[in-house]
Amino acid sequence: MMKPFKILAGVFLLMVTGLTISGCNFGKTSEESRVSLVQSVNPEPAAVEGNKGNGLKTAEKVKKDIQAMPAIFDVAVIKGEKEILVAYKVKHMQRFQMKKIEKEINQKLEKNYPKETFIVSSDFKIFIEAIELKEKVKENTYSKKRAEKQLQKIIKLKKELT
């Protein structure tokens, strides 16, 4: 009777240690993306072209617009060459109205910025990927081309359904 429990305990121990070690060492490296699961991180907006040009200003304006909505508590904005990626987190009890909120955001953005194309997502994965990209851009580790490529990757990920 004791044996299966021992095996089970072993399996669980393996899983738990594996998860903790992997959680500490690899995977997402940035602190900000790691804590974003449990708390509001309020990431700065970014543009793939860096700090020069109007990209960053537009991104800042978009972020302010979306953040003003009462149902939303965290927004990440990345301005790409053609598209603007907007990732947001919805307050817990408002999550029942996810569809409605997405619609509202789309309408608001289309009204305020008729010339831009927006990729809007409430997905947590898109949010952390946006933070990662923002940090790479801010630290100047990514060139403009590389950042744009990464942004396209995120957009492709967003469109995946299965």
Partner: protein, 156 residues
């Protein structure tokens, strides 16, 4: 049965039976099922976030590998004989989540092992789980049909 008129002897027996019947602790069972089912769901949620953080899955797509992992874990637990204890304690709480599916597959396979691999394990593995697959696929078909028709008519 209930609508039929009972003979006096039957009625007497029913009274006697009711007197000696052990009361089911319905509320307690519900609470246990709620707690254990909830714990299983928390584990599932943790696995979902694991897939989101360490692999290229979005919230949208992380569901599939999560379900597969949960079924695999419950299959292992059934094989080790642990899931039986959980099931005895929690009842529906361990049978209703997707882990109950893995349990029903493996427990049937273990039960019919002595009858041989083909006719025993192979033929009886999906004895219980087969209905899950059948009605799952069928209801998915019906829902997809309704959605297709509604989209065609321009309602959606």
């Amino acid at each position: 049965m209930g609508n039929k008129k009972m003979t006096p002897a039957q009625e007497q027996y029913k009274k006697l039976e009711q007197k000696h019947e052990t009361k089911r602790p319905v509320l307690k069972n519900c609470l246990k099922a709620f707690l254990v089912g909830g714990i299983i769901c928390v584990i599932g949620q943790a696995i979902t976030y694991f897939y989101i953080y360490f692999f290229h899955f979005t919230e949208q797509t992380a569901g599939n590998p999560t379900v597969a992992t949960m079924i695999f874990i419950s299959m292992l637990l059934t094989g080790f004989g642990v899931y039986d204890h959980i099931g005895q304690f929690a009842g529906a709480g361990s049978a209703v989540p997707v882990t109950g599916f893995g349990n029903s597959v493996i427990s049937a396979a273990i039960e019919h092992r002595t009858e041989g691999f083909v006719l025993g394990v192979g033929g009886n593995m999906f004895k219980l789980a087969g209905s899950v697959i059948l009605f799952g696929v069928f209801s998915a078909f019906v829902v997809a049909l309704i959605k297709t028709l509604l989209t065609m008519w321009g309602v959606l």
